[in-house]
Amino acid sequence: MKGLNWRVTTVIVSVLFCVYLLTPSILKFGFGKTVPRVTKPGDPWYFHVLPSEVLTLGLDLQGGLHLVLGIDFSEVQRDAVTKLKNQLQEVAEREKQTDYKFEVNSKDEIVVQYPSGSGGKVSDLVVKFFPDILEFRNQTESQALIAIHPNHENEVRKRAIDQSLETLRNRIDEFGIAEANISPQGTDKIQVQFPGVQDPTRIKDIIARTAKLSFQIVRSGSEVPDGPPRADELRSWVKDYEEKTGNKIDGKLPFSTYLRELNKFVATKIPEGTEILFHREVNVNTRQTEYIPYVLQREALVTGEDLQDAYYSYDPDNNKPIVNFQLTPVGADKFDKATGANVGQAMAIVLDNNVHSAPRITQRIGGGRAVIKLGEDGSRSTEELQNEAKDTSLVLRSGALPARLLFLEERLIGPSLGMDAIISGTKSLIYGLLIVLVGMGIYYRASGLVATLALTLNAIIVLACMAAFEATLTLPGLAGLTLTLGMAVDANVLIFEHMREELRKGKGVVHAISEGYKQAFSAILDGNLTTIFAGLVLLGFGYGPIRGFAVTMLIGLVASMYTAVFVTRVVFDYFVVAREKTSLSL
């Protein structure tokens, strides 16, 4: 037999290699031992030999929390345009064009107003300093509409996703959830998976916080009741806005959208360069949330970008949790100057569009230290406050998100449900194999058993490959595995039917075997390839559970070509052809 020894060796080596790859997974799930990635001298000998990769169970099998997050691109876009407007303004000032006026309109366009006749200079500036970043929408004698260039817009979006991923990784690292998986999904979504998490509320809260911090001067509010505008005027405008638009502060609309709309509504009433924000407070007696409006100078004295560190501690006066900040040297310097220039004014500490507190600046503040006090309304328990102080300092430390993250999908699977799924999945797999074993044994006798052996090997190879690639085994994945086994059975049935045909013609066993494989091969190849195509399309489809199904099916199909065609042939060649048997149990 041509190359029989070589082929037998291939089969044995591949089987042993698969067992080797699967051993760490068996150790983990059977004995609760995990092979470490880096071994220490004191470890048992097999830790040094075995790979550390194990089969990862999907959340549907081990339980956990699965989130798909989107990002509020309108906010990202607006921030980017505002930043560009400032840069454009700086460039214009540097080029001594001080009589230009810049602002951002509601369509996220930069409106530039200039003395008539100097439009050419504006285009020169944009072409020279912002190629591929800004583009002209419209230009008249004295005004130009400039928008963000589509290429740059894509860049901005990509950066926003990257920054969000980075920030989320930092936050979740600090929060201390091991084995969390944070990855991009498509171009505009983020997938976050936490195995084994039971109570999602706190994690979701940490993820949802933008952590945008700023210190802004208060123009009107409860600390500055006479404004302008006066506090009662302010309240009546907010009421007016809610009645006219039907928006409610704690209604369906996202809070940031509510704020944006409100500020558009009152734009002509409040002083230029200011904005309305709210202080949220829970009334101790009624337990109702109250929102107190503030008019703040839009330009911040210092923002979270100047933050060096944030940590929580306890207020020495009343022992309540507080969050401390330390600014960077540059930030501390800015803060020092700004507080010096605004002595006597109230300064609001704003975190994620919420005015936390608005203390009056009594003196110049050096050293760049500040404090947020929590729970002054006394409506929450000490534990809740403590968690909030911890979480707030965590999100501040790990950096701000470029914009609000939106929860698009949330799936939670309890660990006991996952266990049930494993048991029923394994059970059905084993019963499926048993049915095929008995059926094939009756119909094709010893040859049928060879086919079943190949089937079992097929399953082992799939699991071993998945362990080696650290691919995730999910419930749909188990279904995919069952289906590949069906395809493998088909391959063997085709081969055996062709063999029988040859034997019926009175041909010898050796001839029948070689013809059986030869004739069946084209149908097996075509059948598998078309199913592989369907699998590849599924993979490109790119959605969690479907992907799991596609991955197992694709690995399974390739493995089944190997086991059902190559391995069974080696068995026949070794036990029948090489020993020159004249009968075949078929």
Binding site: K252, R411, G414, T482, G486, D490, T530, G540
Partner: protein, 311 residues
């Protein structure tokens, strides 16, 4: 040498005239397809929240809570239209389904319910919340996935066999997919992302089945030129020869899916039930749709000769 006897269900000399009676079955299939499509538009799919967006959650109360009380809590949480189904008879476990009204599922129904009832008074072991926007995107990408896989399969058959073979395989494939979709409509089974996986798998199986017979025809013609009458005979002979294989493979695959249909529940169970149906329809369509269609295409093109590529 003595001839070996085999254990077999289909005798070797079986020669059923499948092609001769194909018209009756084509009419039958056409009726079934029309019925399926009509039902899709009248009764409609029972789309799962994967596609529509919404919330499905299992809630286990520590103390017995009547369904009316649960409904009251849900309307406090802003979901007065949510469906509440008891999962046991002692008022502890409920399955709650609600349509979602907003793209953002941030402060979702389970969070609100925990707040209203008290996190220590209930346990929510399973939650699925999908925003309607994601659902819409998913529906669209499912349609695309189906379209692309059918296209790829057609191109492959054209390359490996003959362009004349492709319409038959595609017709059989569409037949199987439409009938399986109809199966989902008739049974009222939830049509979710797993259902799309089932459809795609059935597509793979259906084509595999068709290919086995096409492969036989290809081998029997062996690259030679034959006329229409002999093509019909050849196709019929090919079906007969592979009948035993068709029965065995479909049988074993169906059998290996049955335990899943019994032991697993939820989406995987629905998946395997659809698979069972798909396997049966797939075998049928190969014989009565794909094979006759090849001959019809040939007839339409006139008394031409068939020349298949060599395998």
């Amino acid at each position: 040498m003595q001839k070996q006897k085999f254990f077999q269900i289909i005798p070797t000399d079986t020669n059923i005239d499948f092609i001769g009676k194909y018209r009756m079955f084509v009419v039958l299939s056409a009726l079934a397809i029309v019925a399926s499509i009509t039902l899709m538009f009248t009764k409609g799919f029972n789309f799962g929240i994967d596609f529509t967006g919404g919330t499905v959650m299992q809630v286990n109360y520590k103390e017995a809570t009547k369904a009316e009380a649960v409904r009251e809590q849900l309307s406090q949480a802003g979901a007065p239209d949510a469906s509440v189904v008891s999962m046991d008879k002692i008022d502890h476990e409920y399955l709650i389904t609600a349509q979602s009204s907003s793209d953002v599922v941030g402060s979702s129904l389970p969070d609100k319910l925990r707040k209203i009832v008290g996190a220590d008074k209930l346990d929510i072991p399973q939650v699925d919340v999908v925003g309607p926007k994601v659902g819409g995107e998913l529906k669209w990408s499912a349609v695309l996935a189906l379209f692309y896989s059918i296209l790829l399969i057609m191109i492959y058959i054209w390359l490996r066999f003959d362009l004349k073979f492709a319409p038959g395989a595609t017709a059989a494939l569409m037949h199987d997919l439409i009938l399986t979709a109809g199966f989902y409509v008739v049974t009222g089974m939830e049509f979710d992302i797993t259902a799309v996986a089932a459809l795609l798998t059935i597509a793979g199986y259906s084509v595999n089945d068709t290919i086995v017979i096409y492969d036989r025809v290809r081998t029997m013609i062996g690259g030679a030129q034959i006329d229409n009458a002999s093509l019909a005979t050849t196709v019929n002979r090919a079906i007969n020869i592979t009948l035993s294989r068709t029965l065995l493979t479909s049988g074993f695959t169906a059998l290996s899916v049955i335990p899943v249909a019994i032991f697993c529940d939820g989406p995987i169970q629905a998946f395997s039930q659809a698979m069972l149906f798909g396997i049966l329809v797939g075998s049928y369509s190969t014989i009565y749709i794909a094979a006759p269609m090849t001959i019809s295409v040939q007839r339409l093109l006139g008394e031409g000769k068939v020349a298949t590529k060599r395998a």
